[in-house]
């Protein structure tokens, strides 16, 4: 096989898959984000710690995110809107998946770019029409990929990345959500 250098350590992932097959408890992760209200609809979210492989873990550093609403919503636009964070998550998850699958299949990538668009009828969140849902009506992702592969192989990469995407699954399938006051 020719050497492919997309920069994904596929061997480590394949090894982890084998180990975790026999150790499902170590595969239980809890991801965490801590949010703090700032002013208006502006909030700041910090992410550093998570739980996995049986113990507390930390990112190398604490990451901080600003969320707000834009000026057309009469807000201060100190950050992107929360629903845009879903697009950030989906795009990054699918892109990372494409790189991993490409590495595993021996496909050299030269560039992977995408645009993610979410169609949103805001009458839902405004309570203007109770038949309109709050969330996205549909989401469309368009990839432009330059790689040493046929169009068919590239389509297969994109399909496989969706099949193994955490965020794609979280958006396309219902998830139990518990919100409580401590």
């Amino acid at each position: 096989m020719t050497t492919v250098t997309n920069g994904v350590n596929v061997q480590a992932l394949l090894d982890a898959r084998e180990v975790l097959k026999g150790a499902p408890e170590a595969a239980q992760f809890t991801w965490r984000a801590s949010a703090k209200w700032q002013h208006g609809v502006h909030s700041q979210i910090k992410v550093q710690s998570y739980f996995g492989l049986g113990e507390e873990q930390n990112h190398k550093e604490e990451w901080s995110f600003e969320a707000d609403h834009p000026e057309v919503f009469a807000a201060t636009d100190n950050g992107i809107t929360p629903i845009e964070y879903l697009l950030v998550g989906l795009a990054s998850c699918l892109t990372g998946g494409i790189a991993s699958v490409a590495e595993n299949r021996g496909i050299q990538l030269r560039s992977v770019e995408s645009v993610v668009e979410g169609g949103h009828d805001i009458r839902g969140i405004l309570g203007a029409d109770s038949d309109v849902r709050n969330g996205y009506n549909d989401i469309k992702v368009t990839f432009h990929i330059d790689a040493d592969a046929s169009r068919e192989d590239i389509e297969a990469l994109v399909a496989q990345s969706q099949k193994r995407s955490a965020v794609y699954d979280a958006l396309t399938n219902p998830t139990n959500v518990t919100v409580e006051v401590a």
């Binding site: 068919e152 496989q160 794609y168 958006l171 396309t172 399938n173 219902p174």
Partner: protein, 397 residues
């Protein structure tokens, strides 16, 4: 019974235990219109092959039953019918078998009870309101037994697509929940698609050559039906007769069934895999000089994505009167008191040699080859497994 044939050839004393009559599951657990997925010419068992007038046709349930009965007769298998096994456990010198009619001691046991003893129904069935009738393929016989009104068929393997088509044609509006599936045309380049699987060597791939054996063994059955018209029954065919396609059933919440929004991608995956398989066939025909005896290469339109797919159904509204669970089958090893099952309840075996000396299996998916669960796959599997068994008995003395 195929195993019996090879045991008989070696004069190894044995019995075949059958809980009902010969071909019991074909008599009692199949719906009326069912036909084999494999064409008649592929119906071959050790020492018996189809010799009727329609080699390209597909056997009905009655014909399959008769074929297996004939096999029992010609192979003179020592079958004890009506003998349900209630326990198999290890004994000092082999296995101790308890049946409804007494005990047996034996040096070796071959498990040939198959992979489809029980319909596999997801836990969310328990959350369906009582006003909706629920059926498995074991309960289903024909559309007339169902109430009028909408039917939700869950699962788009061979069973799901066949029942969806039959129910839609009976005038009941069918919604089909589709997860990952295997799309195939019935006829490719003028030949049955299973001719290609058989002849091009795809079915000959051995269990130890398959990339991901766990996946291969769990693969859903292909979207095929055996009909006199030899028609393709993929999702485009179902959509054209009015079946509504929706995503995989994910949950029930507040009396509403929620479905995945990932339908597009399961279509893409199935379309891509089908195209890759057809490429393999074309490549095989080209390199083996077979292009002249088949038609020109064909490509089929991608699975049409509905303009909008519903993400939920109100199960209390009366729109859906019946749910048919075409969500696969699982084996029942409740009688097997030998610790040879994995965490998922599947038998641990290497090509039919089970992880306990003297214990063997036949008739499971990709047991030794991709053709293992088809009738034409049993002969080679049985021969290989009986070879191993005979060596085991010889060494043991």
């Amino acid at each position: 019974m195929a195993a019996s044939r090879f045991l008989g050839d070696r004069s190894i004393d044995h019995v075949v235990l059958e809980r009902g009559e010969v071909a019991n599951s074909w008599r009692t657990e199949r719906w009326d219109s069912l036909r084999l997925l494999t064409p008649n010419w592929q119906s071959r068992l050790p020492g018996l092959r189809y010799e009727g007038p329609d080699p390209d046709g597909y056997m009905t349930v009655g014909e399959v039953t008769a074929f297996i009965e004939r096999f029992a007769a010609v192979s003179r298998a020592p079958v004890r019918t009506g003998t349900t096994v209630t326990s198999v456990r290890r004994a000092d010198d082999g296995y101790h078998v308890t049946t409804m009619h007494g005990e047996l001691a034996c040096r070796a046991v071959i498990i040939a009870s198959g992979a489809c003893n029980q319909p596999s129904v997801p836990a969310l069935a328990g959350a369906v309101p009582a006003s909706v009738e629920q059926l498995t393929p074991f309960d289903y016989r024909d559309p007339a037994k169902l109430p009028d009104g909408g039917v939700l068929v869950v699962g788009a393997s061979a069973t799901g697509v066949q029942l969806a088509a039959e129910l839609q044609r009976s005038g009941r509006p069918v919604t089909l929940a589709v997860g990952e599936h295997v799309r195939l045309p019935r006829i490719y380049r003028g030949r049955d698609v299973l001719w290609w699987m058989d002849t091009s060597g795809v079915w000959d791939q051995r269990y130890d050559e398959v990339d991901d054996l766990t996946r291969a063994r769990r693969l859903p059955s292909p979207q095929l039906v055996g009909t006199p018209e030899r028609t393709t029954l993929d999702l485009n065919a179902l959509a054209s007769i009015g079946v509504e396609l929706i995503g995989r059933w994910a949950a029930v919440r507040d009396g509403r069934a929620l479905f995945s929004g990932g339908l597009r991608n399961v279509f893409s995956l199935a379309d891509l895999k089908m195209r890759r398989l057809l490429d393999t066939f074309d490549e095989w025909a080209r390199t083996n000089g077979r292009d002249a005896e088949v038609g020109p290469p064909e490509r089929f339109p991608p699975t049409g994505v509905p303009t909008s797919t519903r993400l939920h159904l109100d199960l209390g509204s009366g729109e859906i009167r019946t749910i048919v669970w075409a969500t696969g089958f699982r084996p029942d090893y409740g009688w097997l008191d030998v610790p040879v099952l994995d965490a998922k309840g599947q038998l641990r075996h290497e090509g039919g040699v089970v992880d306990s000396p003297g214990l063997y299996a036949l008739g499971l998916p990709v047991l030794r080859r991709r053709r293992s669960t088809f009738m034409c796959g049993i002969e080679d599997d049985a021969r290989a497994v009986i070879d191993h068994l005979a060596r085991y008995l010889a060494v043991r003395g």
